[in-house]
Amino acid sequence: MPIAVRTFEKLGDAASALASDRGARFLGGGTLVMRAINEGDVSITTIVRSTDAVASQIRPAGARIEIGAGVTMAQILSNRDLAFLHPAARIVGGPAVRAMATVGGNLFAPSPYGDFAAALLALDATVSIAGSYSTSETPLEDFLASRERGGTRLVASISFPRPGNPDTFRFRKVSRVKPKGISVLSIAALLPVAGGRISGARIAFGAMAPTPVRAKGVERALEGRSLDGEGMSAALAACLEGTAPVDDAIASAWYRREVLPIHLKRVLLGQPG
């Protein structure tokens, strides 16, 4: 049977359509769903789309920044207000992929993909999920944790508090191929400093588990410390907490564990890769 394509003006209607059809998938940028169809995934019988304009808008709402789920990496890169996020958007695929891949879609990208989601995780992002009649908010961390359990949830937008000082946000993706390669691992770090000491650090890793994960051990170790010997060694000692890396075509779990502290140290010290 040919695939049915259902296009809705409102995200809510698209959400209802998704919920009512087990064979339905929501088409964002196409990098996940169209690939699956091309490769013969016959479990997909319906493509659900939305032309809802809000999904493709970036809304700096004062202290919070809200990014529509349909916003592409290219849009992020052309938005000066989001300069601190450009390093995380620039490493998603090549230019053509970035013109298609969406912020919402990245939340569903399986490891070792989903590096942008790791960046959002370090920014304490909240996911707003479109329902038939209303939208609900979920912390990104919970959203990712429950992602593996499946379920057809339609992401409407992602929002996060604007970093007080954009320079306190750091992102690095380690890949074998330059300039475009998928992750050995990626590291996102928000490192607010108060009085020479780290306060309220947020660290997240990509490709160190089935989904991007918070590095809570590192966050605790850095709290109230400076990035000198003591704070650093405590942070590195705790960096594997909560990670569960796997072997894949890019690197083994062993290698990921071995080099995570090396790259984390370089990120924290602002050293080149």
Binding site: M1, P2, I3, I37, N38, E39, G40, V42
Partner: protein, 537 residues
């Protein structure tokens, strides 16, 4: 930056030709940049059907039962193809050259021997319908123990991968499980060597990864013929293979190709042509069988893995006096072309060096993985990695400059090679000298002065006594061939070869320079083996 070093071998060359030697634009370049170049899938074909194959999910399994009834009735399905529908469902590529036994079906019948082996093909109106039909086919498998390691595969009691070769090795000359190379007496020379180094090397399987995947479009034509658009690397090789498998006279097949989106060896195996043509025969409509990228990467044939053991005997002064190579080609579940790579590999040993004692035993081994095939450097690339890494270790062992070490042992015009043919037209020494110069890698003047056209032949042209081998009936002919054109000056050794030292009948360049002290001092002989560890003797 590319430069030409015309001063080398200028006397052997006519540089005043009108078209040869010019950087003329490619005949196909305008077509490439205007996207008008037509590859196999760019020809206009009406009413095209799409062929997809169901592949084995097991590395090794008996097929108990195949149920295609649901697929046959599925929407858009024009034909389901089983092994029994293939006129001659057993072949080996090199049967065209009478080399090897038929050992591979187009579609598996009794059992599957690697994960991804084609079992059933479906021809449908759209790709989607073909995929849906595949999902409706039920195959009842009985999984069997599989073997993946070449050395495990040749042990007694290992699972039999391919019943045509029950020992999991290709059969050479109807009596050996490997191809031999015997030149001189390596054991005697190892006993005389100052150092003996034995090492293990492993080449990985590699994908050709042309940007155009393997594929074929076959269409019924007039007069009961079929026109076949293909990306094959050998047009008649593919055509004759199909004529055999489909049991039709070759002149009923009209192959059109020759413009291919990269091959590198990956489009020699005629994997898509036979099924595409059969699909066209069975449906009376044009059929396309195109590998997707995952099929190309995991189930299309790779450059096979190779495991190589090298044992060398070297003198303190850097002369290699013996080399023994034992190597295993991982052919995967079927022969394809690996049996030939073994022969090519044997002829290549010991590399571009004159070594008086060289033995080799090279095996083509079957394992439960995707059948391997040719790739750029077939039979050579992996052994060159092993040989040249080994050469670096030997230079280190005797404390010699690796460049000078290569030049010292390099083959020269007139030398006898291990496959018992005279070395000619050599240029290794010159390449080493020029590369050293470009890289500003210092080598001593004596080595800068050496060249391939002198110092060879003489004692170096002798075929040494080879124990256990009765001299072959026909004395080795010099490498002359009837088609060789006269006119090119035949270089002759310009200086008489030096007498050989008593230590070993090893090759020696005209002026053997004084050797520096080894980096690591070796007292007496050391045997190092990556397999058995280090021990003194």
């Amino acid at each position: 930056m590319l430069e030409f070093r015309k001063e080398f071998f200028a006397d052997e060359r006519d540089d005043n030709l009108k078209e040869i030697g010019k950087g003329t634009q490619r005949q196909d370049m305008l077509g490439h940049v205007t996207a008008m170049t037509k590859y196999f899938d760019d020809h206009k074909v009406q009413n095209l059907l799409h062929l997809k194959v169901l592949r084995s999910p097991h590395h090794h399994a008996r097929i108990r039962h195949i149920d295609v009834s649901a697929a046959q009735g599925a929407p858009g399905v024009k034909r389901v193809i089983r092994g029994a529908d293939v006129p001659v469902n057993i072949n080996t590529l090199l049967s065209l050259l009478n080399f090897g036994k038929d050992d591979e079906p187009s579609l598996a019948v009794d059992k599957v021997r690697y994960k991804g082996e084609p079992v059933v093909a479906v021809v449908a109106t759209t790709e989607r319908e073909a995929f849906e039909a595949l999902s409706k086919i039920r195959v009842d498998y009985d999984p069997l123990p599989a073997v993946f390691d070449v050395e495990e595969a040749i042990k007694p009691g290992a699972p039999v991968v391919n019943e045509v070769y029950p020992n999991n090795t290709f059969e050479y000359h109807d009596k050996y499980d490997h191809q031999k190379l015997r030149f001189g007496d390596v054991e005697k020379a190892f006993a005389q060597a100052d150092h003996v180094l034995e090492q293990r090397y492993q080449m990985s399987p590699i994908e050709h990864a042309p940007t155009e995947t393997n594929g074929t479009v076959a269409a019924p034509d007039t007069n009961g013929r079929y026109v076949v658009y293909t990306g094959a690397q050998g047009l008649f090789f593919a055509l004759d293979t199909c004529a055999k498998i489909l049991n039709v006279p070759s002149n009923r097949l009209h192959f059109i190709g020759g413009t291919v989106g990269g091959g590198f060896g990956g489009k020699v195996d005629s994997v898509t042509e036979p099924l595409a043509i059969l699909g066209a025969m069975l449906t009376g409509r044009p059929v396309r069988y195109l590998h997707n990228r995952e099929e190309e990467m995991q189930f299309g044939p790779p450059r096979g893995a190779e495991r190589i053991f090298i044992k060398d005997g070297v003198m303190k002064d850097g002369r290699i006096i013996a080399r023994y190579v034992r190597s295993y080609f991982d052919s995967g579940a079927y022969t394809r072309l690996s049996s030939y790579a073994v022969v090519k590999c044997v002829a290549h040993i010991p590399g571009p060096y004159t070594i008086p004692n060289v033995w080799a035993d090279v095996y083509c081994v079957y394992t439960n993985r995707t059948p391997a095939t040719a790739m750029r450097g077939f039979g050579i690339t992996a052994v060159d990695f092993a040989l040249e890494t080994q050469m670096d270790k030997l230079a280190h062992l005797v404390g010699m400059n690796p460049m000078e070490f290569r030049i010292l042992n390099a083959y020269r015009d007139g030398d006898m090679k291990a496959h018992r043919r005279e070395a000619k037209n050599c240029a290794l020494i010159e390449c080493v000298q020029v590369a050293a110069e470009k890289a500003k890698w210092p080598i001593r003047d004596e080595f800068k002065r050496m060249h391939s056209r002198s110092g060879g032949g003489g004692d170096r042209a002798v075929i040494p006594h080879t124990p256990g081998v009765t001299p072959s009936a026909t004395p080795p002919r010099p490498q002359r061939t009837s088609y060789e054109r006269p006119g090119m000056p035949q270089p002759t050794p310009q200086s008489a070869p030096q007498p050989m030292p008593a230590a070993a009948s090893a090759p020696q360049p005209p002026s053997l320079p004084a050797q520096p002290a080894p980096v690591q001092t070796q007292h007496g002989a050391t045997r190092f083996s990556s397999v058995f560890g280090t021990r003194r003797r």
